[in-house]
Amino acid sequence: MGLSFSLKKSFPGHKTEVELSIGEEVIVLFGPSGAGKSLILKLISGIIKPDEGLVAVDSEKLFDSRNNIDIPIRLRKIGYLFQDYALFPHMTVYENIAYGITNLSVPLARQTGMKGMGIGQKVRELMELMRLEGLENRYPNELSGGQKQRTALARTLAAEPRILLLDEPFSALDYQVREKLRGDILNIHKVYPITTIFVTHDIEEAFMLGKKIAVVNHGRVEQFGTREDVFYRPKTKNVAKFIGTRNIFNGVIKSINSRGITIYAEGIGDCIAEQKPDHELSLGQKVSFGIRPEDVIIRRSDMPLNRSLEHNLVDGTVTGIIGKGMNYTVYFKSKEDVSLKIDIPNTAFKRLNMSIDSNITVSLKKESIWIIETLNE
């Protein structure tokens, strides 16, 4: 089932205006904290009423300000996973999951469950899917964070939602648990292919879960596209920043030919970019362009220069080194005072044998330079 919405909502100091149309897939709403991602889910579900707009599942309208349609939350059949789980603390895991299945009261649900009929079978299936076996009689305060969120997810799925909204569901959990639950989400989507919106501010999570990503900033969708598009071809400086392109510069187009686009940037000099952006470019135009930290290559002085790295060389000094476990982040300053952030793997770092104040030469890989947007004079 497809979901489409176009929503407007104003609060003092915050304005949301979004429009998206999605199919039976997992899409990620990604953006910094306070960008209004959760609010979008609340508007879709009806927890908060939009000022104006439209929400529709296939052709069925759930909200339409023009025709005064506002279907109550309970009839929308939307599943919603809260960041703080929102489990019913006075009910066991079993009762929580069974709660949404029918309108039976909880004791009755428990009875039928004991007889192994309808509800009980369904609850057990979900418990198995969510790795919750053996916990049916536990209360939420006797569960770990991961177990709580899995219970909440099972409870949501039990009600057979048409749309699944996940509101930063894993942000309160530790890294390992989060990793596992992300895998669960992808598995569940295979079993129940429901239209799913996943909200996160975690870049890794966004990349892992969403084949398509909508980057949200200040209540608007700044870019919506495949994850490759968003990550390697950001359309605005903000998107580039959110996805971790720390190295963003302004420059002027000097030439455009079959070898690439040459941009002159102060402090760096001439830079050749291979990738053509979607928009038209002309000579003399001002543009911003960027390169991801892992695509800046530090040249090894003891080896001849690789042909692929002979472009876009910048001399300068190392100003900082931070070890991050899997890799190192090196901060670099060119002779003309332009700063760069460089990520290199541990093994490469060890071979380079450098320290703060070392003089090094870096290469901005021409195939990795991305022209983000054109700038007005």
């Binding site: 927890i47 929308r76 703080d84 929102a86 309108n103 009261s105 009600a159």
Partner: protein, 218 residues
């Protein structure tokens, strides 16, 4: 020794508490959940007995339900229902003065049930009534019960307003606190001591158990 005041106090307190628990619960739900015109004013009026002198409250009730007011006249002539100088007057006084003690904890408990939890139930397809019955009240019951106990304790000790509206008629409207006042006035220390002992022990027990009972895991 005449135990009528003890009997009357229990009868009045239980009746008043029944009103508090029913009418008060509706008010607590209304105030905790809804925004409506005059909500603030309603709250201020309900809370008044906490701050105005009981005699003033009693005077208001007397003016409202006495024969000189149209409400009092209507109740007496049409409904055949006399409030002033009957035990029913004592119930009204106990109800009005104990309502704020119920409302504060009950409202806090209802508001304390997280919005997300109630929304989760809504998203699972439940009606407002089902949510109230299966989520809100089961989660707020400790606070509501604490309110009921406080209101009951307050009702048993009601003095000033009761004296104004129900009077001090031995064997008819003389409640325990009023009987104590009477006994002291007449120098009957023996009766006063016993009645004081009863009411002290009672209040102590009520608060002790209310305190123990309302501490819980949720």
């Amino acid at each position: 020794m005449d135990l009528f005041p003890l009997y009357l106090t229990i009868k009045v307190s239980i009746t008043a508490t029944l009103f508090t628990a029913s009418i008060g619960l509706v008010l607590a739900l209304l105030i905790a959940k809804k925004d409506f015109f005059g909500k603030n004013l309603l709250e201020v009026i309900i809370m008044q007995p906490l701050v105005i002198p009981p005699t003033v409250l009693g005077y208001y009730l007397l003016s409202l339900f006495g024969r000189s007011s149209s409400i009092g006249k209507f109740m007496e002539d049409v409904l055949g229902f006399q409030i002033v100088f009957t035990w029913k007057g004592a119930v009204v006084a106990a109800f009005i003065s104990s309502l704020p003690l119920f409302l504060t904890p009950a409202r806090a408990a209802i508001e304390g049930v997280g919005k997300d939890i109630e929304n989760a139930a809504r998203l699972l397809g439940k009606s407002e009534f089902t949510i109230l019955r299966t989520i809100t009240l089961p989660l707020a019951w400790r606070g509501i019960l604490a309110g009921i106990v406080m209101a009951f304790a307050r009702a048993t000790g009601e003095f000033g307003a009761t004296l104004m509206i129900a009077g001090n008629i031995p064997g008819l409207t003389q409640t325990l606190p009023i009987a104590i006042y009477d006994a002291v006035q007449m120098g009957d220390d023996f009766t006063a001591n016993i009645l004081v002992g009863i009411i002290t022990l009672f209040s102590f027990c009520v608060l002790y158990f209310a305190n123990r009972f309302t501490r819980g895991r949720f």
